[in-house]
Symmetry: C2
Subunit: 388 residues, 2 copies
């Protein structure tokens, strides 16, 4: 690895069956007022809500609820959360849900005491918080975004047709996260699979960049192999604890800063996916899946060496008597077969995109550097058309 | 992964060229009295000592020196360090050196305010500290032990012929560590190679345990592949920055608790190596190298599935038309060839062990559970004889 970097990830994780038993210990470190943030109410059906509320009550906390966080949390919802946190004088924001809920909790945490418009400050100007941050704890019920151990927060502005992520520094990371793989058993299969591809894409977007020899890429290959293996088991039996726990742990390490250390990264697939989502409100992981192969096929000639390595080290493609390009393409074919096998959405038409929308989505797509080919607007349009 | 666990690693790392530039920022967080701990004085020859002392002086620190930490720090040296830390009322212990110096600094940090005999309390009874711990910062000049980002501390008692490690909790982890790969360029090749095998052994001792499907093992395979690759480059050109930085980063992640999460581990190779060291004072990594293959060959029939996987996933052994045992053995053969190629010591005779010493070393070897075969004393003797 050639790059200089800092690494610090102070989030405390509790992982495994009955990890929620550790909540009361953590709660004792914070004041009485807790803002309890969650989504559409599935946690009321599966019993997690009752268990959490019981612990909060036993710990003598004053709980203010902030429910209804949507899959792509909006800037309007953020305004609501800020008000509730202010009115309740929240000492801790406790997020119970998936990545959207955790992302949203972090956005609220840096906005409660912010004197400016948080959307403009954090998501348009990408500034760092200079106000007191309310601590966040997470109880994860859906796997994919890695939001439980990083500073990432993605917010959608429907008026502006923008879905933008800000990666905050370690002071915004959750103070603790509770990861019980069994909490993820009841989510619909579509969401599980979408989360699996979100993880895959996080790893690939850090892997497919740079030509140096870097330990991070070797770790990424290990995570990819584990994910591919466990995903195959989980789609057949979503209650396979071993597979679901491996997927949960892989998700955390796929986006907690480790595998990007000392190297460049390329987040163009997320930019494409987020633009599709801003125009369709489609599920995050599926938007990534639907644009990935057209993107990777497009950049393959520019990053041939890495795509070849990916084919061999991750997909076990044999090298004998084949050109580098053939090996690399066979890797993408193996990936496509796996994607179809686990049931991912393979094109953006299936997510509601029509040819007339391509121009608008192109305009909403941020162009990243760091990849093997920095795209032009025409190339974005071409990739989106190939994704239809 | 089936096991429940907690993960928290708060150590802040500064990695890369000129990482020392971050020292003054870190120093500002501590009081005026610094205990500067180092080893035999090589840092005075390569200029690191002067650079560190200059920064300490510029930051207005009162520095008390504690030099002469030996490769296997002793309980007698520990007593000296405790006294110096007490007399100087140390606010921070700054370790400049390799794993022994960092290990020693941590042992001092938990002993300064300890009212009992630290050797008895921490290394014989394995108790946790219940006193105020002096914070530790590390500036790493040798790579291998991972001591820069964990709670491990190994101390040797020559009178009792014991070398024992205690893995302390996160409150004993270094607060910060400075990792500049160029600081490792001047150490003798023998030490570099020894460190490389220490890393290898750390990963293998966590990998060769358990039959579950675990993301940790996939990460380990990635780390092993990176290490094997970079070691080959570093022995040919010790000043290859890319290789040395990959080795440095791999060392940190080989023993900072990550790859043991959710699984069992087997530290018998370290127990054998530490017993050899207690009787010979030989270099740590070399003691591990000299006993590893006889140990692995001995336990291979009990952990055949994992040894087979190791051969295929780490060493690229082809599977076609071979029995599981043949594949597994070919993996160990590939490992042996790599070990000889990079110049490791392959038997304990070369470290000064004579046949008459085997009985004593057997008696000093702690027997671990967690491996594919819990050894008997006779088996330890047999493995040591096969290591001669």
């Amino acid at each position: 690895m050639n790059g200089n970097f800092e690494y610090c990830n102070p989030t405390k994780l509790y992982f495994g069956r009955n990890a929620l038993d550790n909540l009361s210990k953590e709660l004792s470190g914070y004041g009485k007022n807790v803002l309890l943030v969650y989504g559409g109410g599935s946690i009321k059906k599966n019993g997690i809500y009752d268990r959490v509320v019981k612990i909060l009550s036993e710990c003598g906390k004053n709980v203010t609820e902030d429910a209804g966080v949507m899959p792509n949390p909006t800037v309007n919802k953020l305004a609501e959360g800020i008000e509730r946190a202010r009115n309740s004088n929240a000492d801790l924001i406790l997020a119970v849900g998936g990545g959207s809920v955790c992302d949203y909790a972090k956005a609220v945490s840096v906005s409660v005491n912010c004197s400016e418009d948080p959307w403009e400050k954090y998501f348009i100007r990408f500034e760092e918080p200079d106000c007191k941050i309310i601590p966040v704890g997470c109880i994860l019920t859906m796997v994919g975004t890695g939001s439980e151990m990083n500073g990432g927060s993605v917010i959608t502005n429907h008026e502006q047709k923008l879905k933008i992520g800000h990666v905050f520094g370690e002071e915004v990371f959750p103070k603790f996260s509770i990861l019980d793989p069994e909490f993820t058993f009841t989510i619909p299969k579509y969401q599980m699979i979408s989360g699996i591809y979100d993880i895959m894409s996080h790893i690939l977007e850090q892997y497919f960049s740079g030509d140096d020899d870097n330990t991070s890429d070797y770790i990424s290959e290990g995570l990819l192999r584990s994910l591919i293996h466990s995903a195959g088991i989980a789609v057949k039996d979503p209650s396979d604890y071993e597979a679901r726990s491996n997927i949960m742990w892989t998700a955390t390490w796929a986006l907690n800063t480790l595998i990007a250390k000392g190297k460049t990264t390329d987040w163009e697939v997320h930019m494409l996916g987020q633009a599709v989502a801003a125009h369709t409100d489609a599920t995050h992981g599926m938007t990534l899946a639907a644009v990935s192969l057209p993107y990777y096929k497009h950049i393959l000639p520019y990053g041939l060496k890495k795509f070849r390595r990916y084919a061999v080290n991750v997909w076990g493609i044999s090298e004998e008597g084949k050109s580098d390009e053939k090996i690399a393409l066979e890797g993408l074919e193996a990936m496509e077969k796996w994607m179809r096998d686990i049931g991912l959405v393979m094109n953006i038409s299936a997510l509601g995109v029509t040819p007339e929308m391509i121009e608008g989505i192109t305009k909403s797509t941020l162009i990243m550097t760091g990849g093997y080919k920095t795209l032009t607007e025409d190339e974005i349009t071409e990739i989106l058309k190939n994704s239809l």
